[in-house]
Symmetry: C2
């Protein structure tokens, strides 16, 4: 039997989704389990395995699977462990790659979710054919994956590419979940945009559609919907967010001189509302050498499948 498919498993705090993927990046079948049901990691792996066995029956059974790629919070590619993930129920070091590989009898690799997305973009998305690019995930937090010479950068310890935790505001910056202040993530994640909205609404008096929403429940999606209706305050929130992100991107370019930067995740759906200010401020702050030379692109992975595709792409390299 030809080992023609790979499996992608994406572990989120709430759901674990997984699917069978072919070489062209088609998700042939997928399923999901709850991540936090089993305190015992072995029972969790068993549950995925049993769901998966049903799924793979129509595709030649497990013999058709070349490898399994896993995207997980705090996933370390070098060790195959999930290491001290604050948002998962399993604490400490979890040797997940080993457990899955043993249960499934298939080679398995693991990395964090942003790195998985980056490899997915290179295999099936906007970065096909690129050797040097940076992907920024703009979701609940801000993550990143860096590709140099066609290879994902893992660094000395496996944790390279934490660009969401570079400092955007040095003094009096916002408190970050990492314990420090002023991190890029606190301004340009979906949560960061919601924080900006609340700050603007509290400190200013101008009208806005956003004033019809209870302050504490405002989300980045609300800001987007207000911007679609040409709400001036909502547009200013995107300008503010785009300025901070654009400034950061111009510094990232000075590091690895990428061909492109790719924006991925929820906030990227805001389209030109976020793209235009990011491009403007990135170019304004760019070293002359790179002005108007670095492409800024959105992810081309189909949103519903992006997490599975990203994780699965890791398996082709096994």
């Amino acid at each position: 039997m030809n080992k023609q498919y790979v499996v992608g498993i994406d572990i989120g705090g709430t759901n674990t989704v997984f699917g069978i993927v072919d070489a062209r990046g088609n998700v042939l079948a997928k399923s999901a389990v709850k991540t936090a049901t089993h305190q015992d990691i072995n029972l969790y792996v068993n549950e995925i395995y049993e769901e998966f066995i049903k799924l793979v029956e129509d595709f030649g059974g497990i013999e058709s699977i070349k490898g399994i790629g896993v995207g997980a919070p705090n996933g370390n590619y070098y060790t195959g462990n999930i290491e001290f993930a604050p948002n998962l129920i399993w604490k400490g070091l979890i040797p997940l790659s080993k457990l899955i590989s043993e249960k499934f009898g298939v080679p398995t690799a693991l990395t964090n979710d942003a790195n998985a997305a980056t490899i997915g973009e290179m295999a099936y998305g906007a970065a096909r054919g690129m050797k040097n690019f940076i992907l920024i995930t703009l979701g609940t937090g801000v993550g990143s994956g860096i590709v140099i010479d066609g290879k994902l950068v893992y660094g000395h310890d496996g944790f390279a590419g934490e660009l969401g935790h570079t400092c955007s505001v040095r003094n009096n910056g916002r408190q970050c979940g990492c314990g420090r202040t002023g991190c890029l993530e606190t301004y340009t994640s979906a949560n960061g945009v919601a924080r900006t909205a609340r700050e603007f609404l509290e400190t200013r008096k101008d009208d806005s559609l956003l004033r019809n929403i209870p302050l504490e429940s405002i989300s980045s999606k609300d800001v987007y919907e207000a911007a679609v209706q040409d709400d001036k305050l909502a547009l200013e929130i995107f300008e503010f967010t785009g300025k901070i992100l654009g400034e950061a991107l111009s510094d990232f370019v000075a590091f690895s001189a990428p061909e492109a930067i790719i924006l991925f995740g929820g906030l990227a759906k805001a389209g030109d509302f976020i793209l235009n200010p990011v491009v403007k401020h990135m170019e304004k702050n760019m070293l002359v050498l790179w002005k108007n030379k670095v492409k800024l692109l959105f992810s081309e992975l189909k949103e519903a499948d992006a997490a599975i595709l990203g994780a699965s792409a890791l398996a082709w390299e096994l």
Copy 2:
């Protein structure tokens, strides 16, 4: 004849130094010419060639040379060109690698001076055996070289690693030679330290040994010599400089997760005066993941030979 030696050529704005280097990093013989004598680049290459032929006679002649490495301002490894170097008399694109290779009949590679220093450190210095590190040159300007998985990062266009031009002070930062403001280089280069000294002396009233020197002629060396004598203002200048550099380094770590950061060049000679504040502020700003894990080292290349060694190391890879 065994091709057992390499040649390093380091091109500065004033002097061009070159030497014959063995595999252990010994500079067996060296010489120099003035960089700016010949408007015609061919005459410049001829002059180096004639000096070099005399030098190499005692070492088996040119047949013993495996390759030539050149470190030059704005040197592009991919093209072998010097590209629009503001401080050299040759303007535009200069195909120096090709000219030298043709004149000498020896394979030649070229990169910028900071990258050359980085490769030198990896071949003969503090980074021997390291696969992931960042070198920062603290000279007239601030340059850098980044090594990932044992390879120097050139990026999409050959110009990666311009960390001296990442932004340290976003608003009201110092004017930089690159046309922008707030670049790391404007604070932590030798010139940056001298600027800080002048600023402190002009805006403060406290005593300092530095007040015995005409304001316009103060150099980073003067600040160092005052610090040696326990001059409080001079020590504060190093604290200020080290804070900005340490903050920047903690962000660089988030990019490539290096095993070590190596400080190279004039300012690194200030020893603990600069190292202590850099370490303090780097650790203070470091993401928890990397706290107390990334080594901060000084270059181990012998200073008088460092430029030649760095350039020569490039030739081993030919």
